[in-house]
């Protein structure tokens, strides 16, 4: 039986106070310029902003899912009294801290709905409702003010929870002690319940209602599974970037990457399981009102049964499940920082493809929609997201230095 020596991390650099403001500025500029270009490019298409809105929503859902996944990670670690994750938890807390910014970035989605513009959500349109009585039946839920009101509630709850965990944890950096840990642990189950309810309703509202005649009870779980994959991948990438910048050198060890890699693998499989369940059940029963959704993601809109979207669907299965499954299986890969980060980036790309696959077919145009607008939206929202993250991080430490379970995390070893 050997005992590991606990490394002293009190003195190693763990904030980005020096480079943060500058990086933030760059990111904000990139973000702002790209969003402006996206707007121009979108208007150029000349469809009244329909393409732009869809493209924006795609990237928006991507970045939102990273923050939501981070929030979930934090709540679960507190609820399960985990020790190993203490040194990486702050990264997830900061990601979650971006949720108020995401509320602001949701305005381009909400305002058109409130103004009666049905380009993104068809159910806003009076004429559409008249032509689709099934959707008209749900007007109590699917109407502009109800929609916006609910979104306000989601963001309020998320912002509150994110602030609670981030501020609680940050306060502990000064205070130490165990009361804050116990307090966060006590509230984490409620946070998880609220999280489950809000992410389900939010994904139904923001994404599922793009096809207002379609419905799937597992949809909330599907979005959730993708968001955890995205968040875990982001935590891995951020941890690596911090360590490359000379921070947290001893606080995050190969054991942490291994553990995060295991969780990433597990959630990739979980995503595959949920995606398969949804697909296979709808395929098997073959009920047209349900299969229409998948047919749109299989055809190119020209009436043929198999079209360009089929390739995207197959690519998603291969890239989001099959290839990473094989890649992340080996213990060796999970313990090699470079390889693991490579897979994390791969999965972030395919998580975006997942969002694209969810949102863009509602455009209803033949062929595969991808162009400058999409690139600008990714860069724009990405820049804003990075800037927001750095702003939230500010002077904070990127590690919960005085967490009572820190020594556990630092000597943590995978079996």
């Amino acid at each position: 039986m050997h005992t590991k020596e606990v490394p002293n991390i009190a003195d190693e650099p763990n904030t980005l106070a020096d480079v943060g403001p500058r990086l933030r500025r760059y990111a904000a500029i990139v973000g702002g310029v790209a969003l402006a270009l996206a707007l121009i490019s979108g208007l150029f298409i000349g469809d009244g902003g329909k393409y732009l809105l869809h493209s924006y929503l795609t990237s928006y859902c991507f970045f939102l899912s990273l923050s939501l996944g981070g929030l979930f990670f934090v709540a679960v670690q507190h609820a399960s009294r985990a020790g190993w994750s203490v040194s990486v938890r702050r990264i997830a807390e900061i990601l979650g801290g971006n949720l108020p910014l995401m509320a602001l970035l949701a305005l381009p989605i909400l305002v058109p709905v409130l103004l009666g513009n049905g380009h993104l959500y068809p159910w806003v349109d009076r004429a559409y409702l008249d032509a689709h009585p099934v959707v008209a039946q749900k007007t109590a839920w699917l109407n502009g003010w109800s929609f916006a009101g609910r979104c306000a509630v989601y963001f309020a709850i998320w912002a509150l929870m994110a602030r609670f965990f981030l501020n609680g944890s940050t306060k502990q950096d000064e205070q130490g002690g165990t009361e804050l840990t116990l307090r966060m642990e006590r509230w984490s189950p409620l946070a998880l319940i609220l999280f489950a309810l809000t992410i389900t309703c939010a994904s139904v509202d923001l994404v599922m209602s793009l096809s207002p005649e379609w419905f799937s009870t597992i949809f909330g779980v599907y979005y959730f599974s993708g968001s955890t994959v995205g968040a875990l991948a982001t935590i891995i990438v951020v941890a690596c970037l911090l360590q490359r910048a000379g921070r947290l050198t001893h606080a995050i060890t190969v054991e942490h990457y291994h553990e995060l890699g295991k969780l990433l693998f597990a959630f990739v499989v979980f995503w595959g399981y949920i995606a398969f369940s949804q697909y296979m059940l709808i395929w098997y029963a073959n009920i047209p009102e349900e299969t229409r959704y998948y047919l749109a993601r299989q055809t190119g809109g020209a009436g043929a049964v198999v079209g360009p979207w089929a390739y995207v669907s197959l690519l998603l299965v291969a890239g989001h499940l099959l290839i990473p499954f094989v890649g992340l299986l080996s213990r060796h890969v999970k313990r090699n920082r470079k390889l693991l980060v490579g897979w994390a980036v791969w999965l972030l790309v395919f998580h975006w493809v997942d969002m694209y696959w969810l949102v863009m077919p509602s455009l209803g145009r033949p062929g595969l929609p991808f162009g400058f607008t999409d690139v600008f939206c990714i860069l724009g929202l990405g820049g804003a997201y990075v800037a927001g993250t750095l702003w939230i991080a500010g002077d904070r430490r990127w590690i919960a230095v005085k967490d009572p379970r820190m020594s556990e995390a630092l000597v943590f070893e995978n079996t």
Partner: protein
């Protein structure tokens, strides 16, 4: 732990190795490092539970078991996919509600299960095989103190077969280890016991017998047989009735299959009235309905028409029923058959009656579902539809003409 065990057997015993006993896991690990450093190769540590840190101390290399499992899992996936493809799509194609013969979404669950099954069997059996288990005659059990290894004691065992082994030297070395409680030998029989020839013969016999079933199956698949198939459960094979093409003892010609007695008719099936039951008058179709025509019959005809005929021929008789609409929606071949066009108007009623009874082209016969009286009622209604669809303004009653103008 005092047990009554059989005393040491009579056969000559030889020292098979030495055991060093410890009572704490940490001392075992330290000892292991020293034994390895001393250059011993055929030795082992024993503990009641896996001791943390002993693998590196002993220099145990990672086992190949995970690789075996990955290989088995891959084999499981391939076996499952090929099995499902070959059985359901090639050898005996099964059309299940129009799903593709090889439907990957439906074939995933079995594939996944076989992946797990093959992998797990390999993990379990592989672990046992690599561990050399079962092995009941391990000489190490000859030392009674060793029984505590499954309780609360830890041991180092060095085999006498190790090149560096020397009974005195090794004993001294073991006694010098930190925390050692006792050092004792364990024994094995001087001459290894011989397996009786009977076991070899029985084993060979078992292998031969095991080859029979697959060979029998292969033989049966490759050849033809005049005998009926083997029934494990002869459930309904012998039924108390005479089957077709079997002998019947009662009849002189001994045939089970009998023709109907000439000139007989089943009760209630005389159907003598050709006009009523077949719509025919000699060689011609009847041209007038041979049943009483009244409002009641017309109502009946309408009701029956809407049940049996309207799905294809439409409520108005124009051939635009929901079947036709659906076929149009699905862009499938469909022949629209109007009952009110010029051709149909000219048909004798007997012909229409006959079509209802026997069907025509792709229309299936409705004789079984629609009794003769109802068939005539439907014919009546069809004529009414024909009248309606080909009406002129003069057919409309006076009172209602203004509404149409």
């Amino acid at each position: 732990m005092n047990h009554d065990r059989p005393s040491v057997p009579e056969t000559p015993q030889v020292v098979a190795g030495l055991l060093a006993e410890f009572d704490r896991p940490e001392t075992l690990v330290a000892a292991a490092a020293r034994v390895k450093a001393a250059g011993y190769r055929t030795w082992d540590c024993h503990s009641p539970f896996p001791v943390h840190g002993i693998d590196p101390a002993m220099g145990i290399r990672p086992t190949i078991l995970p690789w075996l499992v990955v290989g088995a899992g891959t084999a499981g996936v391939l076996v499952a996919l090929v099995m499902q493809w070959w059985t359901n799509a090639v050898d005996y194609p099964l059309n299940i509600s129009g799903k593709p013969l090889f439907s990957l979404p439906a074939n995933i669950p079995v594939t996944f299960e076989l992946l797990i099954l093959f992998s797990a069997l390999t993990a379990f059996l592989g672990a046992l095989a690599l561990n050399g288990l079962p092995f009941f005659s391990n000489p190490i059990f000859s030392n009674p103190r060793f029984r505590r290894v499954t309780n609360d004691r830890f041991f180092v065992s060095i085999s006498a077969a190790d090149p560096a082994f020397g009974e005195e030297a090794t004993r001294a070395f073991l006694q010098s280890l930190d925390g050692v409680a006792v050092v004792e030998p364990f024994h094995r029989p001087a001459a290894p016991p011989k397996i009786p020839a009977a076991f070899h013969i029985a084993g060979a016999l078992a292998v031969c017998m095991a080859c029979f079933p697959p060979l029998l199956i292969a033989y049966a698949r490759a050849t033809k047989s005049a005998k009926p198939r083997i029934h494990v459960w002869p459930d309904m094979d012998s039924q108390a009735k005479y089957q077709t093409q079997t002998a019947h003892p009662l009849f002189p010609d001994r045939r089970s299959m009998r023709a109907g007695v000439p000139g007989t008719v089943a009760v209630g099936r005389l159907n003598a009235d050709e006009r009523l039951y077949e719509g025919k008058d000699g060689e011609q179709w009847v041209t007038s309905v041979p049943v009483e025509i009244d409002a009641e019959r017309m109502r009946r005809g309408k009701e029956r028409y809407e049940i049996y005929c309207a799905p294809c021929h439409g409520l108005s008789g124009e051939g635009d029923g929901i079947m036709a609409q659906r076929a149009l929606e699905r862009e499938e071949p469909w022949v629209r058959r109007s009952l009110v066009d010029d051709y149909a108007v000219k048909l004798p009623v007997g012909s229409i009656f006959n079509t209802i009874r026997h069907g025509k082209n792709t229309m299936l016969p409705y004789g079984a579902q629609v009794p003769p009286a109802d068939r005539w009622a439907i014919v009546l209604y069809v004529k009414a539809l024909q009248r309606a669809q080909n009406a002129t303004i003069d057919d409309v009653p006076e009172e209602l003409r203004d509404k149409l103008q």
